[in-house]
Each structure stands twice: as structure tokens, then as C-alpha cells.
């Protein structure tokens, strides 16, 4: 009877083993999926949107920035995580025939200003210094929270800049410039201070590609609207408003982003194809050599949205146990903990005791005496003593 029992046992063992293997395989599949949660590596999203141009005829730069702002907000990044810098106010410009609006398409189809826009740096606050301070975090302590980029090493940051630029520089406010070297150094500072996980840099200016030439920090992907030596052109003018409403590149990027919703799986490669030369006239460029991941795997919403990864499963997943939990040692209170009485903290006795009143000033006695003596003398000289009459 020993032989059939071992056989059954063997079959059972084999089945168990197989089942175990399958289970393990299944479990590892879910494990993989679970680990996909952490693949992109970021836990929060920030956006820094900068328009660097002043004056009414640069309406399109403000419209560019506001379009990206609108998309980014729509896809989930809250205002508290967006630093919006607009160098001029188009919505309330006296030359705006439709006040409180900024349109991005002719025939006034899309008002990108909306009624919940929050501009953090406005007008003359948009300077190179402020921009670099925002990026590097070297901000005076009195700066309000809305003006800070409070990113950490798990933040994906989208940086969008638009304005007038040239080969290696971008003009701020018609009075100063930021060079590509400065920008690259700022990003390096951010990397060293662990202020970003991954950074997407988009620039829509003339010769925009020159701005990302000098980047040398890891995890940066850059897009530009035109190559060195080319001008980025504006889209159609609106005859009702009188200026060009948007630049071509951002116009098509906006069109592309309007298709994106928080759950879309569109990746960066599609973004690279957004504006071919036939539509944009200039050649958009991109740079991905510093980026660790394959652009194929990078979702648009990794940068443009603030997507919470939620996936519902009924499987039990065992995660690696975390390293030893943080036992933050709170410093022991060495101070005495007996409660202080109010009266002991304030010099109540001194407060109650009235200060002696300031003495009012009085004119000196000599003065009063002298003055009245003179007045009386004059009086008697004119009206009084008879023998003084010849003066009268």
C-alpha cells in the first residue's frame, strides 16, 4: 500500500507546487502592478508658468501662459501648486475691448482668463531675480506661501516660459535678460537641493531651443517651439481685439491638451509631434538625453496633471516592510512645567500705578512781566501823562 500513497502524495505535492508557482506568478504580476505605482517616482506636481513680456501688443504671450495654466488646472494641479507669473495685465488693460477676458482663439471662443485665475507674480514683480529665487527657493522669509515653489524631491515640475527670446537668452519685461547658462545653473541648484524629481521645461520663444542647450542636470526633459536661427511665429490676429491672440506652438499644444483628461494614457512622444513644420512654420525641438525614463513611458499627466494613482484590486499584496519607522526623538522639555500665573508675567503693579502727568509749559515770569510792562508803558505814553502829548 506504500506505493499508491506516495504517488498521490507526489501528485498532491506537484499540484501544490504548481499552484504555488502559479500563485507566486500571479502574485508577482500584481506585485508588478503594485510596483508600477511607484514607477514614475513622483508624489506631487508643481507648475511654474512664466510670461515675460510687457505691453499690449504682447497679448499673445499672456494668452499662451494662461492657456497652459488653464490646462494644468483642469488636469488637477491646484492653485497652491502653481506659480503663475504674468508680466503685464491684459485682462484689465485699458486697450482691451473686452475687459476681464483674455482670449486664445479668434472669434473669442475660449476665454482663458476665467474668473478664478490666481496670478502670483504680477507686473513688475516678474523679474529674472524673482524667477530664479522661486526656482532655487532662496526667497526672503516674508514671502507669502503662494509665491513659493515648495517642491521636494518627489515633485514633478512643469516649467513653461514664453516671451521674446534670442540665441541663448530670454527677455524679461523689456529691460533684462536671463541666459541659458543661468537657467541651467538654476536647475542644477534645484537638483542639488533635491527640489525636483523630474522637470519638464517648455519654452515658446524665438530660437527657443538655445535655452535648453546648456542643461546638465539629470531628469530634465525640454521642449522648445523653434530651433536656433528660427523665429516662433504667432497665430492669427483677432480683428476685434486688434492683436495676435496666441503663438502657433502653444496654440497647437493647447489644442492637444484639450484632448487630455486625467485618465488619459497619452505619452510624451505624442507631445513631441504636436506642431509639425507645416503648421508651426518653425521646427519645434525637444531634448530627452538627460531624462532617465523613456519618453514613451512618460504620461502627459505626469507633468501636466496632478493625478492620484488609484487602482482597485481585491488581491492581497505584501509590500516590503519599510525600514525602521521614524522614531523622532522629541527633545525632552527641560524647562519647568509648572503653570505661570498671568499676574506674575506682567508688571501689573507698574501698570496700575499712574505715571506723573507731564507738566505743561508755562511762559517764564520774566517774559510776562516784561511784556506787560511794555504794553502799559506804551499805553501811558499814548493816552496818559499830559506832558507826553507832543508825540500824539
Amino acid at each position: 500500500m506504500a506505493v499508491p500513497v506516495p504517488a498521490v502524495c507526489w501528485v498532491r505535492a506537484a499540484a501544490a507546487l504548481l499552484l504555488g508557482c502559479c500563485g507566486a506568478a500571479l502574485a508577482s504580476g500584481v506585485q508588478d502592478q503594485a510596483e508600477q505605482f511607484f514607477r514614475s517616482g513622483h508624489t506631487n506636481n508643481w507648475a511654474v508658468l512664466v510670461c515675460t513680456s510687457r505691453f499690449w501688443f504682447n497679448y499673445r504671450h499672456v494668452a499662451n501662459t494662461l492657456s497652459v495654466y488653464r490646462s494644468v488646472k483642469r488636469l488637477g494641479i491646484p492653485d497652491s501648486h502653481i506659480v503663475l507669473m504674468l508680466a503685464d495685465d491684459m485682462a484689465c488693460n485699458p486697450r482691451n475691448p473686452k475687459p476681464a477676458t483674455v482670449f486664445s482663439h479668434k472669434n473669442m471662443e475660449l476665454n482663458v482668463y476665467g474668473d478664478d485665475v490666481e496670478v502670483d507674480y504680477r507686473s513688475y514683480e516678474v523679474t529674472v531675480e524673482n524667477f530664479l529665487r522661486v526656482l532655487t527657493g532662496r526667497i526672503p522669509p516674508s514671502t507669502p506661501r503662494s509665491k513659493r515653489l515648495l517642491s521636494d524631491d518627489r515633485s514633478n515640475i512643469l516649467i513653461y516660459m514664453t516671451g521674446h527670446g534670442g540665441n541663448g537668452f530670454l527677455k524679461f519685461q523689456d529691460s533684462e535678460e536671463i541666459t541659458n547658462v543661468e537657467l541651467a545653473d538654476a536647475f542644477e541648484q534645484m537638483w542639488q537641493k533635491r527640489r525636483y524629481n523630474e522637470l519638464l521645461f517648455i519654452i515658446d520663444t524665438c530660437q527657443g531651443a538655445s535655452m535648453y542647450e546648456r542643461f546638465y542636470s539629470p531628469n530634465i526633459m525640454a521642449l522648445a517651439s523653434s530651433q536656433v536661427g528660427e523665429d516662433s511665429l504667432s497665430h492669427q490676429p483677432d480683428l476685434g481685439i486688434g492683436v495676435h491672440l496666441m503663438d502657433r506652438y502653444t496654440f497647437y499644444v493647447l489644442e492637444f491638451l484639450e484632448e487630455i483628461h486625467p485618465a488619459s494614457q497619452t505619452n510624451m512622444n505624442d507631445l513631441f509631434q504636436v506642431c509639425p513644420k507645416s503648421l508651426c512654420v518653425s521646427t519645434p525641438g525637444h531634448r530627452t538625453d538627460l531624462f532617465q525614463r523613456d519618453p514613451q513611458n512618460v504620461l502627459i499627466t505626469d507633468f501636466f496633471g496632478s493625478v492620484r494613482k488609484v487602482e482597485i484590486t481585491t488581491e492581497t499584496i505584501s509590500l516590503d516592510s519599510d525600514s525602521a519607522g521614524f522614531e523622532s526623538k522629541l527633545p525632552k522639555d527641560d524647562l519647568a512645567t509648572e503653570p505661570l500665573k498671568y499676574a506674575e508675567q506682567l508688571p501689573v503693579a507698574q501698570i496700575i500705578h499712574q505715571k506723573p502727568k507731564q507738566k505743561d509749559w508755562h511762559p517764564p515770569g520774566g517774559f510776562i512781566l516784561g511784556l506787560w510792562a511794555l504794553i502799559i508803558m506804551v499805553f501811558f505814553k499814548t493816552y496818559g501823562i499830559k506832558h507826553m502829548k507832543h508825540i500824539f
Binding site: Q358, P363, F367, I368, V378
Partner: protein, 435 residues
């Protein structure tokens, strides 16, 4: 004539009291045309407050009043409104009495000249009669008390009213003939604001005339009287200044008051000519131009003295007008003082040429002052040029007024001695021209 005067006084006091109680008082006291850095009430209160805190009021650049004002208001600061109303009334009464006396003098002189046959035969219509001169003192008091400028100045509690009162008393003393009192009040007026110094000449001329001392440079009695008067004046000035020293035991008030008046450091806009120039002038030239502007006030005294030596009261009027146009911080209170004299020269009406345009200029400018101030400071759609343009026009109007009266006066004098129908050598009608 006491009853109508009392009536006028009562009406004036009522108007002022009503304005004090209304909300306009605060608005008026803020107006730069009414209160200047020299005589604003705010500054008086500030100076007294500083004194209460134990600090000299002249230590900052706030307080520019003389120590006698400190003494006066030290006890009377709660009754300030009453003080200013009484001051205005006193000024009006002083002017009333002065002009009454002056009319008597004028009439006496006219009678003398007629008897001496100094007048041409056909000037009967130019001779003044006591009937027409009867109401002039009342009109003077009326003009002073009910002049909107005076009312505004009083409501703003600007110490210009006190300056005007002292000058009015000086005029009263001079016309009454008392050299001593005249010297004392002139010293007081000079002590208060520097410019009445120029009134020394007309006062001297009047007193000499009254003493029947001819104005010849060789005459011994002329020089004797002049030195007497000058000595009285200077002595009283010195005594007053030294007395002021003893109020605060310091000479601080001299740079604060006279240094301020002469060097014009504060360029707050006012109705004068200084502020705009010095706001845009280079530092390099400012001393030169300060000297030029200040000399301009004193400059007209000698030529006017030579021309108007027979008519010292008219000279006084012209001199007061010149002071209020060219002084460093004029206000409408100063303008009101010489405007009060206009009824005295009623008889010149037929010779005045610019009545309409003058009155239009003065009224329109007075109305435009607050308008352009609002546009400049509050609405931001004008700038200082607009306000200065109105200031300039206003001062041009004033100068036109003075020169018009001057011309009319001289023309009348000429007609009196040469007859109304002037003919040239060839018999055609001639016209008098002021060159």
C-alpha cells in the same frame, strides 16, 4: 455811524460762527490757498503740543510762528475761534476809524488846494464831496469783514488774521499821527512777518506830511524827524526781539521764522510765485534766485516813494498789494487786506480801464484753484503746471489791479492840476499814457 458798523460786525460774526459749526471748516482749513506753512493753525497747535512735551517748538521744521503767538495762544488755544473772530472785528474797526480820519485829512487837503488855486478850472466833477465820502469807512469795514477771502481765512484759523490786525492798527496809528504807536505797531508787524518793513517809507512820508515837514533832502527837520522815527522803530523792534528771546531762552526762533521766510525751504504749493520755480531749480542757482525773488518785494519801495511822495496812503495801499503778491508764502488773507482799501479809491472808477477783465480773472481763478488742485492731487489727471498756471493768472490779475489803480490815481492827479480836457500843442485831444 456806529449802528451800521455794529450791524455789519454782527452779520460777519454770524457767518463765521455758522461756518465754524459746519463741516466746511475742516475742508477750508486744509486748503493750501488759505493756510500756508507760515500761518497754518495745525502748526500752531503742533508747536504748542511740542512745548507741552518739553521740546522747543522750533526744533523741527513745523512751527514758524513768532514767540508772541506762542504766548498769545498758550492761554487762548481753546477759544481760538473766538480769538480769530475778535481779531477780524478789531481789524475792521481799526480800518473803519483809520479811513474815517483819512477822509477828513483828504477833504481838508482838497479844500486847501482849492483855496490855493492849485486846481485847473474845469475839474469840478473830479472834486470829492463829503456826501460821497460819507459811507466809505463803512464800505471798507464791509469789504474786509464780508470778503470771502477773509471769511475763509478766519474759518481756517490762519494767523494771517493776526498779521492783518497788526497792520490795520499800524495804519490807524499812522493816520492818527502818533509816530510812537505807529513805530511800535510797525515793529510788531515786521516782527510777525518780515515784509511790512517796506511800509516804513509810506508811514514816514505820511507823518512828515502831517507835521508839515517838507520832503527835501537838504532839510534838517526832515532828517531829524526821519531819524527819530527810525530810532523809535528800530528800538521797538530790538525790544520785541529781545523779549521773545526770554520766552524760550533761545534765539531758535530767528532762523525758524525769518530764515524760513527768506530762504523758502518749504515748497508746498500756494497762491504765490516761489514754489514752482524752486521746485524745479538746480541747487546751484537756488541762492541766486532766492535773492532775486526776495529783492523783488523790497525793490519797488524807493521808486514808489519818489513818485507817490504826495500821496502816502495810496503808496501804503500799493505797497501792501505788492507785499501780498510777491511775498514768499502768500495766502488769500493777505489779498483780503488790500482789497479792503478799494472803496477808498471809489472816485477813481471813471479812470479804471480793466474792471471787467480783472474781476473775471480774479473770480475765475479763485474758483479754479480748488478744481485744479483736485485734478492734480486727487484725480491725477493734471499736474503742477495746471495749478501754477492758475496761480500765475491770479497774480497777473492782482498786478493788473494794482497797476490799474496806480494809473487811474496818477491820471486823476494830472487832470486835477492840468484840467480835464487835455490838448496837445496843435490843439487835438491828448491822452495820458502810463509809461
Amino acid at each position: 455811524m456806529a449802528a451800521p458798523l455794529v450791524l455789519v460786525v454782527l452779520v460777519a460774526v454770524t457767518i463765521r460762527a455758522a461756518l465754524y459749526r459746519s463741516s466746511l471748516a475742516a475742508f477750508i482749513s486744509e486748503r493750501v490757498e488759505v493756510s500756508s506753512p507760515l500761518n497754518a493753525w495745525k502748526r500752531v497747535v503742533e508747536g504748542l503740543a511740542l512745548l507741552d512735551l518739553g521740546v522747543s517748538p522750533y526744533s523741527g521744521a513745523v512751527f514758524h510762528e513768532t514767540p508772541l503767538i506762542i504766548y498769545l495762544f498758550h492761554f487762548l488755544v481753546e477759544y481760538a475761534e473766538l480769538v480769530f473772530m475778535i481779531t477780524d472785528v478789531l481789524t475792521a474797526v481799526a480800518l473803519y476809524l483809520a479811513i474815517q480820519d483819512f477822509n477828513k485829512v483828504v477833504f481838508k487837503k482838497q479844500k486847501l488846494l482849492i483855496e490855493l488855486d492849485k486846481y485847473a478850472p474845469d475839474v469840478a466833477e473830479l472834486i470829492r464831496t463829503p456826501m460821497e465820502m460819507h459811507y466809505i469807512p463803512l464800505k471798507v469795514a464791509l469789504f474786509y469783514l464780508l470778503n470771502p477771502y477773509t471769511v475763509m481765512s478766519c474759518v481756517a484759523k490762519s494767523t494771517c488774521a493776526i498779521n492783518n490786525a497788526v497792520i490795520a492798527f499800524f495804519i490807524l496809528a499812522t493816520i492818527k499821527g502818533s509816530a510812537f504807536l505807529s513805530a511800535v505797531f510797525l515793529a510788531l508787524a515786521t516782527f510777525q512777518s518780515l515784509y511790512p518793513l517796506t511800509l516804513f517809507a509810506p508811514a514816514l512820508l505820511y507823518l512828515l506830511q502831517r507835521q508839515f515837514i517838507p520832503i527835501k533832502l537838504k532839510s534838517k527837520s526832515f532828517w531829524l524827524y526821519t531819524t527819530q522815527y527810525a530810532a523809535l522803530y528800530l528800538c521797538s523792534l530790538v525790544v520785541i526781539v529781545c523779549l521773545s528771546f526770554f520766552l524760550l531762552n533761545s534765539w531758535d526762533f530767528i532762523p525758524s521764522v525769518y530764515g524760513f521766510i527768506l530762504s523758502v525751504p518749504d515748497l508746498t504749493p500756494n497762491i504765490g510765485l516761489f514754489w514752482y520755480f524752486f521746485a524745479e531749480m538746480f541747487e546751484h542757482f537756488s541762492l541766486f534766485f532766492v535773492c532775486v525773488f526776495q529783492i523783488n518785494v523790497f525793490f519797488y519801495t524807493i521808486p514808489l516813494a519818489i513818485k507817490l511822495k504826495e500821496h502816502p496812503v495810496f503808496f501804503m495801499f500799493v505797497q501792501i498789494a505788492i507785499i501780498s503778491i510777491f511775498k514768499s508764502y502768500p495766502t488769500v488773507g493777505d489779498v483780503a487786506l488790500y482789497m479792503a482799501f478799494l472803496p477808498v479809491w471809489n472816485h477813481l472808477y471813471r479812470f479804471l480801464r480793466n474792471i471787467f477783465i480783472l474781476s473775471c480773472v480774479l473770480i475765475v481763478c479763485s474758483v479754479l484753484f480748488p478744481v485744479l488742485w483736485h485734478l492734480w492731487i486727487y484725480a491725477g489727471s493734471a499736474n503742477s503746471n495746471f495749478y501754477y498756471a492758475i496761480t500765475l493768472t491770479f497774480n497777473i490779475g492782482q498786478i493788473l489791479l494794482v497797476s490799474d489803480y496806480f494809473y487811474a490815481f496818477l491820471r486823476r492827479e494830472y487832470y486835477l492840476t492840468h484840467g480835464l480836457h487835455l490838448t496837445r500843442q496843435d490843439g487835438t485831444e491828448a491822452m495820458l499814457v502810463l509809461k
